[in-house]
Amino acid sequence: MDAKCEAKCAYLLRLGDNALVLSQRLSELCGKGPALEEDMALTNVALDLLGQARLWFTHAGELENRGRDEDALAYLRDAHDFRNLLLVEQPNGNYAHTLVRQFFFDTWHYFQVGALTQSSDQRIAGIAEKSLKEITYHLRRSGDLVVRLGDGTALSHAYTQTAVDELWMYTGEAFNYDEIDLQMVAQGIAPAAEGLRAQWLAHVGDILAEATITMPPPDAWMQKGGKAGRHTEHLGYLLAEMQFLQRAYPGATW
């Protein structure tokens, strides 16, 4: 595989891993949502993300041509092989954490995938076009709920502010481009970091202002490492549950 192709595979895995890991996190709340409507919403969003992960993985697997299909990529890699952002592996916490994490991710996902619809790679553009409609719906919902919680009771406001403050340091990684990201930009596949970050900050700023939540400084110190396989301790536990069957019964199918 040439270097160009290798970078694209790595990039596709990042897209797939983000969707898969957040999908798994949201699935943990199935049957445990704070209200029936929320329960349905969380699992529906999880389902959309899972579908998107399958599309990215299938494309990555075919491109790398090493015999790995979507299942092999999801179930047979360990934490250090995952390339998702640290944000999506953070625990569900209280409901403000769950929603703020979702809102931060949805906003990035929305502008990122929106730009990918213009990608020079037709297949990436096709998957992006399909996913963008779903992500739009996710973002409208998570933005709406952040405003309702932030501008809600004194308690919901305090929880939301804490969640924003605690998750903020995980929001810079997406815009911290490494060699792979830069190659994707150069090939016309992915959007540049600066424009994407400006869009993200503008939308997050709008929603947080409406939610009466104080936005932490954009130039605050930010965590990184997920894109290079250096994860927080939370990912291992998530994978242990998600990959249990393949670990206990290697090669099991049904």
Binding site: L36, E37, M40, A41, N44, L47, D48, L49, L50, G51, Q52, R54, L55, Y110, F111, G114, A115, T117, Q118, Q122, A125, G126, I127, E129, K130, S131, L132, K133, E134, T136, Y137, L139, R140, R141, G143, D144, V147, Q199, A202, H203, D206, I207, E210
Partner: protein, 176 residues
């Protein structure tokens, strides 16, 4: 014995009889997920598109297509999945919308927003200050005096509403 070459129009008619697994009142053709039928001698290629990336019904639909065509003597069936142009509720046929309403599901009320190629429109599409969505008519009494109770419903393609006049809850096929 060799079956006669299949006629594409006939295949479309057969497909029109396959119900959507989750909303059996409409066919997969009404739903707009069959994109193309191509007959090549004995072989038939059917191109389908998912409504949602994670739609769990896609496999069931592919199997149903194979079974239906096999019943009509088509042995060689190829199913191709096509993502672009993405499915939107605009692909629903008028007949499909009528059938949905008759079944108690409010059909989509507006044209789906075309987000592709709208780079500059991205921020507007999710702005909370955007135009309010048009009122959904109650499929039971026709009143527009309705409200949404949940953004998601029993399947990824539906939201939950209730009518403030006749007091009945109903499903709304989301505009996507």
């Amino acid at each position: 014995m060799i079956a006669a070459a299949h006629n594409e129009a006939t295949v479309w008619q057969w497909l029109e009889e396959i119900p959507d697994p989750e909303i059996p009142v409409i066919s997969i053709v009404d739903l707009g997920i069959v994109r193309a039928v191509q007959a090549d001698g004995d072989a038939v290629t059917v191109t389908i598109t998912p409504t949602y990336s994670g739609c769990p019904a896609m496999q069931v639909i592919a199997t149903a297509v194979r079974e239906a065509l096999a019943e009509h003597g088509v042995e060689q069936v190829r199913i191709v999945t096509q993502l672009s142009p993405a499915w939107t509720t605009d692909w629903l046929s008028e007949a499909g919308k009528r059938k949905l309403r008759g079944y108690g599901i409010a059909p989509p009320v507006q044209q789906a927003v075309d987000l592709s190629g709208l780079r500059s429109g991205l921020a507007a599409a999710v702005s909370r200050r955007g135009p309010a969505a048009p009122a959904v008519a109650c499929p039971h009494c026709g009143s527009h005096h309705t409200e949404r109770t949940s953004q998601f419903g029993s399947t990824p393609c539906k939201a939950l509403y209730r009518c403030r006049d006749c007091r009945e809850p109903f499903d709304h096929f989301k505009c996507h």
